[in-house]
């Protein structure tokens, strides 16, 4: 079974075919014009031939002096008539002396007095028809002739005479025919040449594309840093290449994040797992009393609970990654949510001697549990890094369709290169993972903030200057209905 895709043409073939179509059209137009020019020229040539022959005879008939004008005219006609029959003369008159040549086709007589409109074809056969310039087409004794009839009025020396001069059109027709054959050949061969050249040119023009595809083929998971060579590319492709490279950059970043994420997950899971296995093994090497075993189980339970939280948070992040949006939306005051969250964290704030100040307010439609989760993480982060006794400011504003929630704390500044990565999973500014920070979570807090923001069609931001670190997120004021 042949699939449709098997009929796909390469761009070069496509271009060559299009060139071919263009060539056929162009050559045909030129051929038509040339053909027409030739026809006109041949007709003019015929006319001139007949006309010059007629002039000879007319001159003789008009200026000849008696006697024997008739005989001399006939002799002259004999002399002028070529032996190959390319031209013929007729003469007739009421005076039988002046009649020359076999009797003129009656037809000519009949039609000559009527004017046939140019271009109108009469019935075929021994039918005369008048063409432009007063020429009449005539089939005579198997010859196709073109004739001109001229009447000479009577003079005292001779009777009225009608002179008919004709030329054989056959040589002209042959010329026209050869010319047409030549045109057809030129059109055909020319088109073929154009197609072939077009294909070659297209291949030449598309060579950078082939190089591009070779470049692209070399990029794989083991040389992710490789990029397409842009300087060698023509302008149009350079843009494509740049976009492609940018896409690769993003992918590499995602890949890098994912692979460090995997490392981090392994690390985060390995520590509690190691503790679990170790503690349990130690406990089982000796007889233990119930209290010791209970102690072990409780310790194990704590580690397991930590594992469960990591898994739950990672599942949450995975859902956000898969594009899950906030549901169960309610329109609430953000300041109210902040106040509620601050109330939740009140004891921690008290312990650190911190106060929370809320500035501004916005109404937004949010899923409150997600929103509070993000706020809790951000405030907890601020509490952790705030200078003791300072004020944590929560600034709520709106820009276009987004509500901005910015949480600022005074404290040690975060370096810019850390700042852009604080929302990465398991990223820790101090990067010391030797011990569990007692209450600062497992390094997913800000990643969860980012996930919550994206579930509300928002994003995250962070700045740190003049001793004030601001970390925040945005949510859409009105959540758009999800397009199914």
């Amino acid at each position: 079974m042949v699939r449709l895709t098997d009929f796909r043409l390469s761009i070069a073939a496509r271009l060559a075919l299009l060139f071919g179509v263009v060539a056929v059209v162009a050559f045909s137009l030129i051929a038509l014009v040339l053909n027409r020019v030739l026809e006109i020229e041949l007709e003019r040539h015929q006319y001139e031939q007949i006309e010059s022959r007629t002039q000879d005879m007319r001159y003789m008939l008009l200026h000849a002096r008696p006697p024997d004008i008739a005989q001399r005219a006939k002799d002259k006609i004999d002399a002028l008539t070529p032996s190959d029959g390319r031209a013929r003369y007729w003469m007739w008159s009421d005076d039988p002396n002046y009649c020359y040549g076999s009797e003129l086709p009656r037809v000519l007589n009949e039609t000559s007095n009527r004017s046939v409109p140019p271009g109108e074809q009469g019935p075929q056969g021994q039918q005369g028809q008048q063409s432009q310039q007063g020429m009449i087409d005539l089939d005579f004794q198997g010859q196709h002739l073109r004739v001109i009839r001229s009447a000479l009025v009577a003079t005292p020396a001779r009777a009225a005479v009608t002179l008919v001069v004709g030329v054989d059109t056959h040589p002209f027709a042959r010329t026209a025919h050869s010319f047409r054959v030549a045109l057809l050949l030129i059109t055909g061969l020319g088109t073929l040449v154009v197609v072939a050249l077009g294909y070659w040119v297209a291949r030449l023009g598309l060579a950078p594309l082939v190089r591009l595809s070779q470049d692209a083929r070399e990029i794989g998971p083991y040389n992710r840093a490789q990029r397409l060579q842009l300087p060698s590319l023509p302008l149009e492709l350079a843009q494509l290449g740049a976009s492609f490279n940018a896409a690769l950059d993003r992918l590499e970043e995602a890949y890098r994040q994912l692979s460090t994420f995997n490392d981090d997950v392994a690390h985060e899971l390995r520590t509690p797992l190691g503790n679990l296995i170790g503690q349990t093994q130690v406990a089982l090497t000796r007889e233990r009393d119930a209290a010791q075993l209970q102690e072990l189980l409780q310790s194990n339970l704590e580690e397991l609970e930590r594992l469960r939280l990591i898994v739950a948070d990672m599942l949450f992040l995975a859902r956000a990654d898969q594009g899950e949006r906030a549901s169960r939306l309610v329109t609430v005051s953000i300041a109210h949510e902040v106040a509620k969250t601050a109330e939740f964290l009140e004891l921690l704030l008290d312990d650190a001697g911190l106060t929370v100040q809320v500035q501004g307010d916005q109404q937004a439609s949010i899923e409150t549990s997600l929103f509070r989760r993000a706020l809790t993480n951000l405030l907890q982060n601020a509490i952790q890094y705030a200078r003791c006794g300072s004020i944590i400011t929560v600034h709520i504003s709106s820009r276009e369709t987004l509500a901005h929630i910015a949480i600022s704390n005074e404290g040690v500044a975060i370096a810019p290169d850390h700042l852009q990565r604080i929302f990465d999973r398991f990223y820790r500014v101090d990067s010391s993972r030797t011990q569990y920070p007692q209450h600062s979570g497992h390094g997913l807090g800000l990643a969860i903030v980012k996930a919550v923001a994206s579930m509300h069609q928002g994003s995250v931001f962070a700045t740190s200057e003049h001793g004030v670190t601001t970390v925040g997120f945005t949510v859409a004021l009105q959540q758009q209905q999800r397009q199914q």
């Binding site: 409780q298 310790s299 194990n300 339970l301 704590e302 397991l304 609970e305 469960r308 939280l309 898994v311 739950a312 948070d313 599942l315 949450f316 859902r319 899950e324 549901s327 509620k340 969250t341 109330e343 939740f344 964290l345 009140e346 004891l347 921690l348 312990d351 549990s369 997600l370 509070r372 989760r373 809790t376 907890q380 007692q438 209450h439 600062s440 979570g441 497992h442 807090g445």
Partner: protein, 226 residues
Amino acid sequence: MKVLIVEDEIKTAEYLRQGLSEQGYSVDLALDGIDGQHLALHHDYDVIVLDAMLPGLDGFALLRSLRETKNTPVLMLTARDGTQDRVKGLQEGADDYLVKPFSFNELVARMEAITRRGRIQETTLLRVADLQVDLISRRVARAGQRIDLTAKEFALLALLARRQGQILSKTVIAELVWDMNFDSNTNVVEVAIKRLRAKIDLPFDSSLLHTIRGMGYVMEERGAPH
């Protein structure tokens, strides 16, 4: 209370059976959907713990067929924390759901919540040993001594006293006292418990508020001095 557990993971099923039996439930166990359906339809249970993914007949199908004839409270266990599963389960008539991995005492708390639902007899005065919590006047006294609590401390104490004898996890406490229904990594609850304990336990001879390591907190009279 009779409970039916429909769960194909044998280890899970076994610890649920043991745990719930020890909590005073009489437990029936079905290891696949077909058995589960049979038991659920032909016996009267106070609550059914139903896994969503089951061999033979999945949890959702079992729930549908159950709801045609019976109104037994059902707690669904789902492996995936997808909104779809949640919505589907609740639409089919589940009373609540838990996402695996879940903690055992959260399961117990939720089971009690759905079996109690609708027939909570609120008393206005709670007593735990010599501790009295008046829910109307919001007064707390122990051994006749008045204790001043903040609003949140009172809410926390009221919750623990109302559910005395039941272990409450930090997540459950955060949800019911502060309306924060997510697993938070904060130690807010620990700090709050510490402060509450300083007011209601430390000045007195015996402790009423106990920490169960790795599980949560429970309020009960244990007799032994601290």
